[in-house]
Amino acid sequence: MNSRRVVYAVLILLLVWMCLPENIPVKFAVNKSKVQFTINPLSFDIPLFGYHFKKEFKTKLGLDLKGGSHLVFRADISKLKTEDVSEALLSARDTIEKRVNFFGVSEPVVQTSKSGGENRITVDLPGMENVSQAVSLIGQTAQLRFFEEDTTQKYASTTPLLARLTKDTGMNGTHIKKSTVVFDPNSGKPQVSLQFSEAGAKLFEEITGRNIGKPVGIFLDYSPISAPIVQQKISEGNAVITGNFTVDEAKELAIAINSGALPLPIQLIEQRNIGPSLGAEDVQKSVIAGAVGLFMVSLFMIVYYGRLGVIATGALALYGMLSFAIFRAIPVVLTLPGIAGFILSIGMAVDSNILIFERIKEEQRKGREFHASIRLGFTRALDAIKDANITTLVVSFILFNPLNWSFLPQFGMVRGFALTLGIGVAMSLFTGVVITKRLIKAFYTHV
C-alpha cells in the first residue's frame, strides 16, 4: 500500500513537472546564500543504443496566439487572360495550402491578397522553424509534363537525347492521381512512383505504345527529371520516375506532384515574423478571467458538495494537467478554437463529476450506506457519461477528419477545435471515472 502511494506521488510530480510554465526566473535568498534558477517544464535527451530519445514538454501556440512566419508571394499573371486571373489565384491558394499541409505545419493560413497593382498570396506559418525549405517547396510551379520525340522532324544522330524531346504529349500533372516515394528494390535508391488517373492511364498507354524503344521525357517546370527509354506498352496505370534523388528530393517532388501544379508562377517578395492577432493584453485578461472562472467553479463545487467537491476539484486539477501534458507531448498547436475545445471538455469533465455525485446522493436517499452508494452511484452514472462522451468523441473524430478527406476541412480552426475536444473528452472519461473513484476511496477508507 505504501509503495503504491510513492508511485502515485512520483507520477503526480512528473505530471506537474511536464505542466510547469516556461522560462520563469526565480530568485531569492536563504540565509544570505542566493538561490537563482529558471523554472522550465520537463525535457530530456537520452542517448540509448545509438538513438536519441528526445522530448520537450513545451506549449506550441498557433499564429493567432503566438505569431510566426509571414510569407508574401507575388503572383505573375502576365500569361493569363484577365477573366481567368481570380480563379487561377484561388486555385494557387489551395495548392499552396495543400503543400504547406503536407509539410506538417499546423494551422497554416493561406490568403490571396491585392496590394497596389499586384496580386499576392500570403502564407502564415505559425512557429515554423525550417522556413527556407517551405519557401522553396511553396514556390515551385511544379508543372509536370511528358514529352516525346517529334517524328515529323529529322534529328542528326549527334543531337542529344533531351533536345529531341520536343513534342508535348498532352499528359501532365492533372493526369496523376497519387505520387509516393518508393525505393528501388535492387539499388535501394529512392524513386517517385506515379499512379495515373483513369484518363491518365489511357493516355500513358497510348504514349508508351507508340514510343517503344524511344525515350519519353518527364519534365518539371521545363527542366528534365528523367527520360527513360520505353521498353513496352504500359497499361497498368503506374510508372516510376528514377532519377538521382536524395530521399528529401524525392519526397519534395512527390509532394509537389501530389499537391498539383500552381496555375501561375509565384515569387517570394516578403518574409517576416509577425505578432499575434490577439494582443498580449487581451491574452493576459483572458487568462485572469479563466482563472477567476475556475476558482468560482471550484468554490461552487466545494460549497455544494462538501468533501466530494474537494475531491472533484482535485480530480479536475489532475485532469487539466493530464490533458495539458498530452497537448505538450504530441504536440498540439494551441489556437483560440483549440482552447475553446479544451474549455468545453473541462465543462464536460465537471459534468461527469456532478453526474456521479448526484447519483451517489440519490442512492443515499434510498437509504443505502455510504460505500454501497458510491459503488452504485458510479456504475449508474457510467452509462450516461459513456454515451454522452462517446457522442462527443464521434463528433470530434469526424470534424478532425483523420483520413484527410478532401471534401472535409483539411486544416485550420475546425481541426484544432476537434483535436483538443477529442483529447479532452477522452481524458475526462478516464479521470472522471478512474481518478475520481480512486480519490474518493483513498479519502474515505481512512476516515
Binding site: S113, D282, G341, D351, T391, V395, S396, M413
Partner: protein, 289 residues
C-alpha cells in the same frame, strides 16, 4: 415532483419568440461578417500630429469605409477596414491630412482575401452534417432506436437556430462580428447540446429498460426523468455559466463576444434538453406505441 409535461405550450411559446426574433433580426439586419469572411484592408499610418482614435474612426465611416479594428498608439494608427483599393486609400489619407492639419505617412497598406473562403465554409458545413449523421448513428445504436437520436438532433437544431438568431441581435446592437470564433462557438454549442440531452435520455432509457415504473404513462416517465436530473442540469450549467461570465466580464477584446456566444449556447443547450428534446421524444414515443 413538477409536472413538466403540462406546460408544453409554454415551451413552444418561449422557443418561438426567441427563434422568431432571431430570424427576424437575421432577415432585417443580417450579420456583420468579419475580415475572416470578407477579406479586408490593413492600414498603418504615422502622423506628425496624432488625432484621437474616435476622430479617425469618424472620418473613415464618413467616407463609407467600414472599420473592424482601430488602434492608435504613439503617433501611429493601425486600422483594419473593409477592402479598399489604392485610390480610396489615397483619398482617405488626403482627407485625414486636411481635416486634422497633419502629415500622414503610409507605413503599410495591404488588402487581404478571406481566410474562411467559400470552399472552407462549404467543407465546414459538410463536416458538421456528417457529424450530425454520426450522432444519429451512434445514438440509434446506443439507445436502440431512432426516436432518441432524432429528438436529440432536433433539439440541437433548435439550439443552433437560437444561437444564430441571438448572435444576429448581438451583432446588431453591440457590434459583434460573424467571425471564426463564432463558427467555433456554433460547433461547441452543437456538441454541448447533444451531450446535455443524452443525460436526461439516459434516465428515460433506464426506466424503460428496467421497467421499474411499469404501468406509468410516458408523461410520468419523462417528468420523473427531468425531475431527477434537474439538480445536476442546473449545477452543471451553473459551473459553465460561472466560467463564461468571468470571461465575458473580465476577458479582453474579441474573447468577449465569443464568451457571449458560448453563454447563449450553454443556456439554450441546457434549456433544450428538458424542454425541447424531451417533449419531442415524448411525442415520438407516443406515436410509435
Amino acid at each position: 415532483m413538477i409536472r413538466f409535461h403540462k406546460y408544453i405550450w409554454l415551451y413552444i411559446l418561449i422557443s418561438c419568440i426567441i427563434i422568431g426574433s432571431g430570424l427576424f433580426s437575421i432577415m432585417k439586419w443580417g450579420f456583420r461578417y468579419s475580415i475572416d469572411f470578407t477579406g479586408g484592408t490593413t492600414l498603418v499610418y504615422s502622423f506628425s500630429k496624432t488625432p484621437s482614435a474616435n476622430e479617425l474612426a469618424h472620418i473613415f465611416t464618413q467616407n463609407k469605409i467600414g472599420i473592424e479594428k482601430i488602434q492608435v498608439s504613439g503617433n501611429t494608427l493601425e486600422a483594419q477596414t473593409t477592402p479598399i483599393n489604392e485610390k480610396e486609400e489615397e483619398a482617405i489619407r488626403k482627407k485625414i491630412e486636411t481635416a486634422f492639419k497633419t502629415q500622414v505617412k503610409s507605413l503599410r497598406f495591404e488588402t487581404v482575401g478571406p481566410t474562411m473562403g467559400k470552399e472552407t465554409t462549404q467543407k465546414t458545413i459538410i463536416a458538421s452534417l456528417l457529424a450530425v449523421s454520426g450522432i444519429l448513428l451512434y445514438m440509434s445504436f446506443a439507445f436502440k432506436g431512432f426516436d432518441f437520436a432524432i429528438s436529440a438532433v432536433l433539439a440541437m437544431v433548435h439550439d443552433f437556430l437560437v444561437l444564430v438568431g441571438t448572435y444576429s441581435l448581438i451583432s446588431h446592437f453591440f457590434g459583434a462580428t460573424f467571425d471564426l470564433m463564432f463558427v467555433t462557438a456554433m460547433l461547441t454549442t452543437m456538441s454541448f447540446s447533444v451531450h446535455d440531452t443524452i443525460i436526461i435520455f439516459d434516465k428515460i432509457r433506464e426506466y424503460v429498460r428496467t421497467g421499474v415504473h411499469q404501468g406509468a404513462s410516458i408523461e410520468e416517465l419523462t417528468d420523473k426523468a427531468i425531475n431527477e436530473t434537474l439538480v445536476r442540469s442546473i449545477n452543471n450549467s451553473l459551473t459553465i455559466v460561472f466560467m463564461l461570465l468571468a470571461l465575458l466580464l473580465l476577458g479582453g477584446g474579441t474573447i468577449r463576444f465569443f464568451a457571449a456566444a458560448l453563454l447563449v449556447g450553454t443556456i439554450t443547450g441546457s434549456y433544450s434538453s428538458p424542454f425541447v428534446a424531451t417533449p419531442v421524444l415524448m411525442w415520438f414515443m407516443k406515436k410509435h406505441k
